[in-house]
Symmetry: C2
Subunit: 222 residues, 2 copies
């Protein structure tokens, strides 16, 4: 469903050239469960942002369901970002003035759901990540791991079929982390496609396919 062909992401800082991604190719199939590992700075988040249509490559081709992303209009791209893909950011990116419940509701505002249904979905997503008693808290009134779990709940609220999670358990104790991973397993069994960036071996081995990045290149894909 996703074809990434010879993609590079190159930054220029002064006369310094940084190749965040260097000629990367990967094909992602429906119901894949992929873990992505690699050293700090090796390009994992950059690759995730491109897959999630949140960033554009400097070179190379990205096809989503066999259509070129570069030829899509704004509403097609918005549809992919808001309804087909759920993204858990490495730095959470919650809106500071909204409560947990409101933050989780944000992606649902574009959906055809009515207000009551939206609230129920958002409450259910927060219940799944164990935060029913934190629905009225704003991000500054939450712990690091609680913010991470709100970010996870928000990514799942729209029931997307592709879930991209960038280090989703990095701020969680092992028990909360295992609960989240068990839930990811259920999503996978339900037919969804999961790509998880992690630096924890215990998380990576739960995936069916393992990818490793090094210096902006894919060095392992098995």
């Amino acid at each position: 469903i996703i074809a990434i062909d010879s993609i590079s992401k190159i930054y220029h800082l002064g006369d310094n050239v940084v190749k965040a991604l260097d000629d990367v190719s990967i094909s992602i199939y429906e119901n894949d469960f992929i873990s992505i590992m690699g050293p700090s700075g090796s390009g994992k988040s950059t690759l995730m942002n491109i897959i999630g249509c949140l960033d554009v490559p400097t070179k190379g081709v990205y096809k989503f369901s066999n259509e070129l992303i570069s030829e899509m209009n704004d509403s097609q791209l918005a549809n992919i970002r808001n309804e087909k893909i759920g993204f858990v950011f490495q730095t959470f990116n919650l809106l500071p003035k909204l409560t947990s419940l409101q933050n989780v509701e944000v992606p649902l505002i574009y959906s055809p759901l009515g207000r009551t249904e939206r609230l129920q979905r958002a409450e259910e997503a927060l219940r799944i990540v164990g935060l029913s008693d934190r629905m009225a808290h704003k991000p500054s009134e939450l712990s690091g791991g609680q913010r991470q779990r709100v970010a996870i709940a928000r990514a799942l609220a729209n029931k997307p079929s592709i879930i991209l999670a960038d280090e989703p358990t990095g701020n969680l104790d092992s028990k909360s982390g295992v609960e989240i991973l068990n839930f990811f397993d259920e999503l996978h069994k339900a037919g969804n496609t999961l790509i998880i960036v992690t630096h924890e071996e215990s998380v990576a081995k739960r995936a069916k396919r393992r990818v490793e990045l090094f210096d902006g290149k894919i060095v392992v894909d098995e």
Copy 2:
């Protein structure tokens, strides 16, 4: 050197009462190496913020070198925060408009060092965490793990004798994480006092003393 006696931190949200810390007592001695673990939301960051003089308890007593923190004036508190304690935040808290080098220099601006010496110290701190080639990058031009390492370098720039690190390896691959922990070991051998919040067992067992929090209380201290 630090005495925390019956400390509570209580928040009121509407008619909801949240006890982030509930009657916590702990004594910290010179050259201690303490790891703090506990579930997400159990009060670890809250305790660290109080120890680091970045937050005030709702009840209880905090003595630093046998003096009451509540009786200190602004310049005494600033001296503790900027020169005696180095704090690595769970969410990094880098200044977005400054480069890595400038971010690391910030705590040195209050010290008696001249400009050349400040630059050398900041460059050395970045070299230790493996970021010599990222000195001119701003936080938005860095990966998550690189930002975490800049936060670590900044905490160490003033050579504080007390280092408080809130989940310092949460965004690092195992190799970078081990390098940071080896460096923490060296700081400990050099006589410094370290308190590290972590949810990784491999990090916690490197400490000489282990503390565990649950629901705002200390349940283990050995």
